[in-house]
């Protein structure tokens, strides 16, 4: 018996997308088969930004469609990359003559389906470029960076790509900025308990009563290693160690800090995690420009969080600071 606020488990994706469309009051509409959503109003001559991936990680991806954010999203089934026909339908809808940037998380299924769609789009004369997010430092060593998984740091990359696509005139420039943000973003997660797949109720992984896993993947893919449960400070120290060493982040750097709930970890716990993360950063003389705390990139009711750091320079700060509005993420300017 799956205790979730859903109806027919097989209809979860179509119903959640319908709910999103309704919540947007017309600003977001379906543009093809189930899973294809785009902004209803898009200015001519805009570089298009298309994000997407498997469902089940909401707000990621469709709830990041909006002003100065993504123009459209291709959503697959739960934990499954979207199919090329869905991606192509969104590509057509967001194309305004200046080409389209695909920005998505680096999973085998996503890479292959988005590549197929990009080839189909090229046949229709739509120029497509791709930036893959691979911010999870625990998923592969630095020398095999392009084998790394994408997790919550994708929000920071999409946010900056959205601002760039809303202001820069060419696809090349938007791709450069988005890739630059991707290159400056590092993340790591910790899992305390598994979420479950809505259709089957099956847990995505098993952890012992006294076990946690640092580096656990978003879809429950096993992480770096299992270890015994510890206090927040002990866990955060280890996570920060991994992330800071990877870029590396050095004294004098300025960063944005994202503390992301993976599903059932409270805002209270994220604040306690932030307390330790800031102590670590302050001790290393790394300044924090802005902090985002909440559930942006989840895995159903999975307990745990991820910490993401984006190293800023003047260019990235300009696009990061721009206001943005979407159902799942809003950056205000008063």
């Amino acid at each position: 018996m799956i205790r979730k606020l859903i109806n027919n488990p097989a209809q979860v994706v179509s119903e959640l997308l319908e709910g999103l469309e309704l919540a947007s009051n017309g600003a977001i509409r379906s543009v093809g088969p189930i899973g294809a959503l785009a902004r209803a109003v898009l200015p001519e001559g805009k570089v298009g930004l298309l994000i997407g991936g498997g469902s089940g990680h909401e707000p990621l991806f469709p709830a990041f469609i909006g002003a100065n954010m993504a123009d459209g999203a291709a959503c697959g089934n739960i934990f499954a990359a979207p199919t090329p026909d869905v991606i192509l339908a969104v590509t057509r809808a967001v194309h305004r003559g200046k080409g389209v940037l695909y920005a998505y998380e680096n999973y085998a299924g996503d890479v292959m389906n988005f590549d197929i769609a990009a080839e189909m789009a090229a046949e229709e004369g739509i120029e497509v470029r791709t930036v893959r997010v691979w911010d999870d430092v625990a998923s592969a060593p630095p020398e095999r960076m392009d084998e790394r998984r994408g997790i919550a740091g994708g929000l920071l990359v999409f946010k900056i790509a959205g601002a760039a696509a809303a202001t820069l005139p060419t696809l090349d420039e938007v791709v450069r900025v988005a890739a630059h943000a991707r290159d400056n973003t590092r993340s790591i997660g910790v899992a305390l308990a598994a979420g479950s797949i809505p259709q089957t109720g099956e847990k995505t992984f098993e952890l012992g009563d006294n076990e946690i896993e640092i580096g656990m993947g978003l879809h429950g893919e096993p992480g770096v290693r299992r270890q015994s449960f510890a206090s927040a400070d002990v866990i955060v120290d280890q996570m920060m160690q991994h992330v800071l060493a990877d870029l590396p982040f050095d004294a004098g750097d300025e960063v944005c800090l994202l503390l992301n709930d993976l599903g059932s970890t409270s805002f209270m716990e994220l604040l306690i995690v932030n307390r330790r993360a800031r102590q670590v950063l302050d001790a290393r003389r790394i300044r924090v420009h802005d902090t985002i705390i909440g559930a942006f990139c989840t895995c159903q009711e999975m307990a745990g969080c991820s910490i993401s750091l984006l190293k800023l320079d003047d260019e990235l700060r300009r696009f990061y600071d721009m206001p943005a509005r979407s159902l799942g993420f809003t950056k205000g300017k008063l």
């Binding site: 089934n77 090329p84 299924g109 590549d115 096993p222 992480g223």
Partner: protein, 214 residues
């Protein structure tokens, strides 16, 4: 005596029978993908072959390439995830080798698997030993080429054996692609889900041959 080969309508019926068999493998494939992936392979394969079953029931096909292309296109737009792209590419690639052919025999099988393998490797870049579907598909394609002169029934039996050996070889491999990759050694001891579903597909094709009406 089983037919040495199948007409296009017979092949369509044969594939429709295959669909139901693959739908019924959902739980086995779910468990396989839970062990070293994200647990959705069973749902995806079941969804894909349900869509293929509908597609094949609602229309006829003049030639093998149109039939096999319809299977590939439907899998591509219904499974999603890595296996959607992989299984879609396999059949779409295979269809190219069957242009205007109307007889499915051992040589058609060999062509389908060879072109299918090429398409899968172009798309996914994986080779034998990477703990993916290729570990079963490549030996199957090679064996199919060797027995392309035999009856379809005999060839299939050989191809199933080759695929099964390839599948079993994945048990002791670490994954170089897909969600099992970061597991490192922890992937050892488990079969690759994609190799498993591909091998099950061939086994069902082999056992279902006798039920194809003359």
């Amino acid at each position: 005596m089983l037919p040495r080969h199948l007409s296009v309508p017979q092949t369509r019926q044969w594939f429709i029978l295959l669909c139901q068999a693959m739908i019924d493998e959902q739980d086995v494939l779910t468990r396989a993908d839970q062990a070293i992936g994200d647990g959705d392979h069973g749902i995806g394969i079941s969804r894909g072959f349900s869509a293929v079953k509908l597609k094949l029931q609602e229309s006829d096909f003049a030639t093998l390439d149109l039939l096999v292309n319809a299977v590939g296109k439907t899998l591509l737009i219904s499974i999603g995830g890595a296996s959607g792209a992989i299984f879609g590419s396999l059949f779409l690639g295979g269809a190219k080798s069957l242009k205007d052919r109307t007889v499915f025999d051992a040589s058609s099988l060999a062509d389908l698997l060879e072109y299918g393998l090429r398409a899968v490797q172009e798309r996914g870049k994986a080779g034998v030993g990477d703990k993916t579907i290729v570990d079963a598909l490549q030996p199957a394609a090679e064996r199919a080429r060797e027995v392309q002169a035999d009856s379809l029934e005999k060839a299939l039996a050989e191809v199933v054996f080759a695929a099964s050996q390839g599948l079993e070889s994945t048990r002791n491999l670490q994954a170089r692609f897909g969600k099992a990759r970061p597991l490192g050694e922890r992937a050892i001891g488990h079969l690759d889900p994609g190799a498993l579903s591909f091998t099950l597909m061939l086994r069902h094709l082999s056992s279902l041959l006798c039920r194809v009406a003359d």
